[in-house]
Every structure is written in C-alpha cells, then in structure tokens.
C-alpha cells in the first residue's frame, strides 16, 4: 500500500507561463492519471475509465490551449471558459484544476468524502474554484456552454467557450436541441468536444443505442466538425484543439469528435466499459500506478 505524500514543491502556475514543452505536459498527464487512480481507490468509488481517457484533453486544454486569468471568479470575463457536461469524470477535472492552481492539491484527498468541496460530481454549491455549473445529470452542459458563449458575445468578450461531452451522453435529447440552436444562431465562439470512447455503463455505445456517425450528425446540423483520431496522443490533441480555435469566429459552432480509449494508461482498464464507474482494489492500484510512475509528486 502506498503512503500518501504531500507535494508542496509543485508550483502549478510555473508551468502555465510561457510555452510549456511537450515533455512537461506529458509529465502532468502521467501525474494526473496517478491522481485519478488514487482518488477513486481511496473512497472505492468514482469513475476512472472516462477520466483516464480524457486526461490528455484536460491537460492540453488547461496548460496549453485556454487563455486563463489568475484566480477564479464566476463570471470569467476576459478569459476562456470550460464546461464539463459529463460530470462523472470529475476525478480528471479535479486533478487538473488542482495542479493548475485553482485549489490545493492536498484537497484531492477529500474526493467524495463528507464535507468536501470535491463532490462526486462537480458542483458550484460548495464553492470549489474552477467549477461554473453543476453537472452529472447528463445532457445539460452544451446548453449551459451556449448560454455562456452568448453572454461573451453580449459582453464584447472575444474569449472562447470549451465544453466536453461523453458520446453516450448524446443519447440525451437536450443535446440535439442545443446542437440545433448553436448552428441556427451562429454561436461560433464555442468548441464542443465529444469524447468518442464508444463505451457507456451498459456496454459499447453502438450496442446500447447506436450513435452512428457522430461527425456527420453534427455536420448536417450545421457545425464545423473536425476529428482527433487519437485523443490519447497529447501532440494530436493539442494540434486538434489549435485547429479548432482557428475555426472559431466564422459563423459556425465548432465540434471536435475525439476518439479516446476509456481507461487509457492502465492496460487492464483499456478497451472495456468495466471501469466506467469502478475503483481499483489495493493490488490493482499498485499495478496501475506502476504503469504511471510519479512525476510531479503525489498529493
């Protein structure tokens, strides 16, 4: 059993200044995976699969792509904003927020515990910096992201709105209301990414309720769509997000269909929906952590 170490030496903002090297970012990716695994293991609950699959995306977004102010205020005027619609992948969100400096990394120790700001699903209710809306009940995030994008336009703020959605989540009808609205109203300061890992709780998405060709669906709804073929290749994710940014402001909302592998980075968690909402036991954790050696210091 691993002992928990405090890592006060980590200075999160240092990495955000200037142009971080790919290797630096890769170190954060590995450390984030460790955080995710340790968080869900400690409380024997939470969703490691989707979190591990989206780690590169989160690290790229927060450390390379988004323009962020120091500190946190709810209105977020003058900075890019991110909305997580599939709130169950809170472990990756919390780890990245903490290591970006929104709150102390030690607080990751409180994930899902009573009196914690790190609720099972993200919420504004406990005042956790970095979170701007509650999510967890699926299918609601795109509408909220559109609203925030409209507020940016009204405020003459040319920063962007990013959002992330699970692919299974697209089975919720509200998404299609939102998808229709965004193109019909030229919400072109929005980049919505679909985590196309092909898995959901009950099995492969194409078995549970086929989503078909997600890219074409968004396209016929009037979006500008690009694909990231390997959402677990950090370089490809950064390139894809940069390309998406370059397509904003042209009259269409931008969608990224990003193929990821649920459970990426831990061999026995990959290519299955089994770890969607299951925590590893002691032995499994040890194996998983061995595949992701400590880089920035465990919390």
């Amino acid at each position: 059993m691993l002992t928990q170490k405090i890592a006060p030496t980590f200075a999160p903002h240092k990495l955000a200044i200037g142009m971080p090297k790919l290797e630096d970012l890769q170190q954060i990716v590995v450390q984030t995976r460790r955080d995710i695994l340790r968080m869900v293991h400690k409380v024997n609950s939470g969703h490691p699969g989707g979190s591990l699959g989206c780690t590169e995306f989160f690290v790229a977004l927060y450390h390379e792509i988004m323009q962020l102010k120091d500190g946190f205020d709810m209105d977020g005027i003058g900075e890019d904003l991110f909305f997580l619609s599939n709130g169950h992948i809170s472990p990756v969100f919390y780890s990245v927020l903490a290591r970006k400096g929104y709150f102390p990394v030690e607080e990751l120790n409180t994930f899902r515990l009573i009196d914690s700001r790190l609720q099972g699903h993200p919420t504004t209710h406990e005042g956790l910096p970095g979170v701007r809306v509650a999510s967890g009940s699926l299918g609601q995030g795109m509408s909220v992201a559109i609203g925030a994008a409209l507020a940016k336009k009204l405020n003459g703020d040319d920063h962007l709105i990013f959002s992330l959605h699970g692919d299974g989540e697209l089975q919720e009808g509200q998404n299609w209301e939102a998808i229709m609205y965004a193109s019909g109203n030229k919400v072109d300061n929005l980049i919505a990414t679909i985590d196309r890992n092909g898995q959901q709780i009950d099995g492969p998405t194409e078995k549970v309720l086929p989503l078909g060709n997600v890219k074409e669906k968004f396209e016929v709804f009037g979006w500008d769509v690009l694909e990231i073929a390997n959402g677990n290749d950090l370089k490809a994710v950064i390139a894809g997000l940069k390309e998406a940014k370059s397509r904003t402001g042209k009259g269409k909302p931008v969608c990224i269909v990003m193929d990821t592998v649920m459970g990426h980075g831990v061999d026995f968690m990959m290519h299955t929906h089994a770890w969607h909402g299951k925590a590893p036991n002691d032995e499994q954790l040890e194996t998983a952590l061995a595949q992701n050696p400590e880089t920035l210091g465990d919390y």
Partner: protein, 317 residues
C-alpha cells in the same frame, strides 16, 4: 371592510410583459428567452426594443433553461418565458441541476398557470407547479394576484439575486392592487383586517377572497384577508399573527391542495400554532377544457367555495 376597486380587467401576463419592457430600458443586464410563445408572454415590445438581448430558442424548453443558466455566467439576468407547464414539469431536472443546485440567477417566468388557461385542457393546465418549484432548495416562488402586482413582482425579481419562479396567468381578471406598489419579496399583504377567520389567498384567488369577505361581512362574519404573493420564502410571522387572532384559516389557490400554498401554511401552523384549516384548491385532480369561469366553478376555486370553507372551518374552532 376595506374597499378594493377593479381598475379594469387585465391579464397578469401583460403585467409581466409591460415590466419586461420597462426592465429592457432600465437594466442592461436583463435578457429574455422564449420557447415559441412570444405572443402569449407579451414580450414583443421588449424584443423590438432589445433585439440583441432576446433569444428565441424554439420549442426546446430544456435547452432554454440550460442557456439561461449559462447566460448568468458573465453577469446577465435571464428571464425565461413559456407556459407554466413547460416551465416546470417538462424541465424539472434542468432547473434542478443547472439552475437551482448551481445557484444561478435565472428568473423562470411562467404564464398560463393553473386551470384558468381554459379551453386547451389538462395537457396545458398545470396545478402542480408551485409544489415542484417550492421543493427546490434556494428557489423563490412568487404567484402575484393581478396585473399591477405581476408588473411590480417582475421588476422586483430583477434586483433579487438567485433563482426565482414567477407564476402568472392567461385570463383577464380584476386589477385592484395599487399601480405603483412597492413589491417586497417574502412579505405578506394585509388586505382586510378581521377577527373571525383568516383567509390566505394567492394568485387569481385573491380577488375571489375579497368578494367572499364582503359577502361574509353582510352575514356578520369578520374575515381577515391576507395576500401571500411569495409562497417561498413564506411570511410565517404574518400568518401566525393573524391566526392567533382569528383561530381558524382558509387557504385559497389555483393549484392542487398537495404541494401548494395551503400545505406551506399547514406546515407552519402544525409546527408553531396548530389551527383548524380548510383548503380551497383542486383536489388532486387534473383539469379539463372549459372557460376559466366554468372551470373555477366546477373545481371549487371561487368566492362561493371560499365562503363555504369559511363556514366549515369556523365550526371547527
């Protein structure tokens, strides 16, 4: 008895629409959203004057609630507009997670509430909305009684920080409260002082309560009439003060007796001052097609029903 004069029948939804026009001119952060019911919500003037601050979302209420939540991030004050049915039951989870739990400053403005929606029938007549909305932690629930009060309430909620459910109706009804009233959220209004019974009414039933009180006065019964426009937070002090004097209470609302104003009053009384109470409300039923007056008569929601309830509750003192 204090006299109230009908200044001319008007629909409460027009009070909302006219207030939106005023807010459009005075508060640059106010924005409006509508789900394909602009005419019904009477917000065309707001739209004409503030086209950039209006968002037509089409027949997609869930998306409307989410967009409204998002618009608050950046300091906007969104007012959503559709029928009460589609403002609540249809989008309960969106309101619950994206607005109430997230503490967003959204004003959910709901027209055509209750049975007086009339001919469209039960699919559109919601009698459960107060219950659903008052159960949400942090939600303020307001049901004004006439045009003037609805206008004042709409203005007031723009300055209130936090989610609000504002419920109003379709038909033209008596407009009897003061034109330039100061609307205080959470404050009961004493309309008539009395000593034998307290009648606590909300929405369209307030005017009926005043008619009932006048009829009762002619029969030698002194009825105190209180207008509760804010069902949550409830002005418990005013309620308790009155029932301690009269010893019995009739509550009147255009809503199911389950989950409505009456239940909120009953809870207050049970906790602090048990008192005989009768409920003028629908009896756990759906509505049906008909004219508003026919429906109010059939479902026991008029001054005659209030009078009957007064006689019944006074015997229980």
């Amino acid at each position: 008895m204090t006299k109230y004069e009908d200044q001319g029948k008007k629909d409460t939804r027009s009070g909302f629409g006219d207030a939106m026009t005023a807010l459009g001119r005075t508060n640059p952060n106010v924005v409006a959203l509508c789900a394909d019911l602009v005419g019904s919500l009477k917000i065309q003037d707001f739209i004409d004057e503030n086209p950039d601050r209006f968002f037509q979302v089409g027949i997609a209420e869930a998306n409307m609630m989410g967009i409204a939540a998002g618009l608050t991030i950046g300091g906007k004050i969104p007012f959503t507009g559709t029928f009460a049915n589609f403002s609540t039951g249809r989008v309960y989870d969106q309101i619950r997670q994206s607005i109430a739990y997230s503490g967003k400053n959204v004003k959910i403005c709901a027209s055509h509430a209750g049975i007086t929606l009339g001919e469209d029938g039960a699919t559109h007549q919601i009698l459960e909305d107060i219950g659903m909305m008052k159960m949400l932690p942090g939600m303020t629930v307001i049901n004004p009684c006439d045009y003037n009060q609805t206008k004042a309430a709409t203005m007031a909620i723009a300055d209130h920080k936090g989610p609000v459910y504002l419920r109003f109706g379709r038909p033209k009804v008596a407009n009897f409260t003061a034109v330039d009233q100061n609307f205080e959220i959470g404050k009961a209004l004493m309309l008539n002082e009395g000593s034998d019974v307290t009648i606590i009414a909300t929405g369209h039933l307030v005017w009926e309560a005043l008619i009932a009180a006048e009829n009762l006065e002619n029969q030698g019964i002194s009825a105190e009439v209180i207008n509760i426009h804010t069902i949550k937070p409830l002005d418990e002090a005013s309620v308790l003060k009155s029932v301690k004097k009269t010893g019995c209470v009739v509550t009147a609302e255009e809503h199911n007796y389950l989950g409505g104003l009456g239940e909120s009053i009953a809870r207050t009384l049970a906790n602090q001052h048990p008192t005989p109470q009768e409920f003028v409300a629908t009896q756990d039923t759906f509505g049906e097609s008909g004219t508003p007056a026919q429906l109010m008569e059939k479902y026991g929601l008029n001054n005659k029903a209030i009078e009957k309830a007064v006689f019944k509750v006074m015997k229980r003192k």
